[in-house]
């Protein structure tokens, strides 16, 4: 199997030396007030400046640029006034993976990862026949004649079947939203800091039944940036900046494209075959397993991602995520902290980018009131429409 031969070639090849984001709370307030302070490029530029300051470097140190999927690579390069020798465009987790690959092959040494998104002020559509992402993921748009247009509805179908097959209840799922809001209540950057109870969760309206309001991610504007550097360069940068180094210890990926539009991998397999492959890769490359993980961060456009990630990545058995969460605890004080910043549900919907900087903060010990004690390994899991990518960050 290719998964066996992926080797340890990217293990600690690169480290994150700088992280930053825009003021999501202020961005949200201004946009809701009808203001349009920045476009996606502006949010990216703000975050980029702050990430360089966090790392203590300047633009002349940077020779690689990866921008998020919401901005054009070339135009962002112009806005940032960067002339890199290597560049690309990618989603959050793939951007980190690509930065490590570019560094490992000598194509770049210090890579800036820049994301900006004006999705709320631009009223980006995530449902309907013209929905964002429909050209890549036909399932997002293909069923629009029947009114099945939103990604939430696709996850509702997935979770409904999972409930029927496993006996999982809505209140089992509700634990996720309650726990993440509890994390967010300790996070001064989170948009939604008011704690909720399981009763609040169940009393909130359904959107696409069986998913309730609090199962859905936020929609907000903002930006995130990271500086990823080759290990020896990273050590030199960290010596000057005084910031602890956070290495990328492992990367795993597996995709399920077969019958994706007709929802086969989603409804028949819950994406498990891809999760199992990606899990084996990331754990082998990192040299750690789920028992070594101090915090788990999961791409959570919808709360049910967490249940599927816990099962697919070996934290518990299939169908057991609800009872595992109840027994283990995934909120503050729990044995397996999950989405410690509040995630997309409660912190900020930065499409996985906020999770990357939360991972770095936790390992640096910059988590403040939400700091996970002695945090050395943070595992990230992303599973967007059958594209499973996972990272292990390590001290």
């Amino acid at each position: 199997m290719p998964a066996d031969s992926c080797g340890a070639s990217l293990h600690k090849v690169a480290a994150v030396t700088g992280i930053a984001h825009t003021d999501w709370i202020e961005d949200y307030r201004r946009v809701r007030a009808g203001d349009k302070p920045f476009d996606s490029y502006g949010y990216g530029a703000l975050a980029f400046s702050r990430a360089m300051a966090d790392a203590g470097i300047s633009r002349s140190d940077i020779d690689g640029l990866i921008v998020g999927p919401t901005t054009a690579y070339e135009r962002m390069g112009e806005v940032l006034d960067l002339n890199p020798r290597w560049g690309d465009q990618a989603d959050a987790v793939t951007a980190v993976a690509k930065a490590c690959m570019a560094i490992a092959t000598g194509m770049a040494e210090v890579v800036a990862l820049v994301y900006g998104n004006d999705q709320r002020s631009a009223a980006i559509q995530y449902g309907g026949p013209e929905a964002m992402g429909g050209d890549a993921f036909l399932s997002y748009v293909y069923h629009s004649p029947w009114g099945l247009t939103s990604q939430g509805a696709l996850y509702a179908l997935m979770f409904r079947r999972y409930m029927a097959l496993t006996g999982t209840q809505e209140r089992d799922l509700g634990q996720v939203s309650v726990a993440q809001r509890a994390w967010a209540s300790r996070n001064p950057h989170a948009l939604m800091q008011k704690r909720i109870t399981l009763d609040d969760y169940l009393a909130a309206p359904y959107i696409a039944e069986p998913l309730h309001l609090f199962d859905y991610c936020l929609i907000n504007d903002g930006g995130v940036a990271l500086i990823v550097a080759e290990a020896s360069r990273a050590r030199a940068i960290a010596t000057k900046s005084g910031k602890p180094l956070v290495f990328v210890d492992g990367i795993g990926r597996a995709d399920l494209n077969r019958e994706a539009t007709s929802l086969g991998p989603r409804l028949l397999e819950f994406y498990r075959p891809a999760q199992h492959l990606a899990a084996r890769q990331v754990y082998e490359m990192a040299g750690v397993g789920p028992e070594d993980v101090d915090a788990l961060l999961v791409y959570d456009s919808f709360s049910c991602h967490i249940l599927f990630a816990l099962e697919g990545f070996g934290y518990c058995g299939e169908g057991e995520a609800g009872s595992f969460i109840a027994r283990t605890g995934i909120g503050p004080g729990g044995q397996l902290p999950v989405n410690t910043g509040g995630g997309h549900l409660s912190e900020s919907y930065m499409q996985g980018w906020n999770h990357q900087i939360e991972a770095v903060r936790q390992i640096r010990g910059e988590g403040g009131d939400r700091q996970v004690p002695d945090c050395r390994h943070v595992h990230y899991v992303s599973d967007v429409a059958g594209k499973v990518v996972s990272l292990m960050y390590g001290a």
């Binding site: 449902g127 309907g128 026949p129 036909l138 748009v141 293909y142 069923h143 629009s144 004649p145 029947w146 009114g147 099945l148 247009t149 939103s150 509805a153 509702a156 179908l157 997935m158 409904r160 079947r161 029927a164 097959l165 309206p205 359904y206 959107i207 696409a208 039944e209 069986p210 077969r258 019958e259 539009t261 007709s262 929802l263 086969g264 409804l267 028949l268």
Partner: protein, 130 residues
């Protein structure tokens, strides 16, 4: 009024014409006999490009369903439900389901295809308990 919704590929048009005739057809691979959905340029199983349009039985079993409690499209005031069905021919497809049939839905429940009118003027496959 149109005879079909937005086409996402040139291969969709014969399917929507068959739905308009109340006899839904899907491409069936000339090489390996597999039905495929959505319509496309090649057979995912064997990559053969030769196919014929064959009628489907319209029978299948429920995989899952969801009910929208929020209005996203003018054609579908809430509550509006859709069901994912594994057709006896193999492919999975989405169809509408009327409110009075939602309570009877269950995983593996047998359903049959019926045709309902969309406000934009075309016919749509829907499902009801068999």
């Amino acid at each position: 009024m149109t005879s079909h919704p937005r086409l996402f590929s040139p291969y969709d048009e014969p399917m929507w014409s068959s739905i308009a005739a109340r006899e839904m057809r899907l491409q069936r691979c000339a090489g390996c006999s597999a039905f495929r959905y959505p319509p496309g340029p090649a057979c995912p199983r064997c990559l053969g490009v030769e196919a014929s349009w064959e009628p489907i039985a319209g029978s299948g079993r429920v995989l899952s369903w969801t009910t929208f409690h929020r209005q996203y499209l003018s054609a579908y005031p809430p509550p509006h439900s859709v069901v994912a069905v594994k057709l006896d021919e193999g492919p999975i497809m989405i169809g509408s389901v009327k409110p009075e049939h939602v309570a009877a839905l269950a995983v593996d429940r047998a359903v049959r295809m019926v045709y309902v009118a969309h406000p934009d003027g075309y016919l749509l496959p829907a499902f009801e308990p068999a």
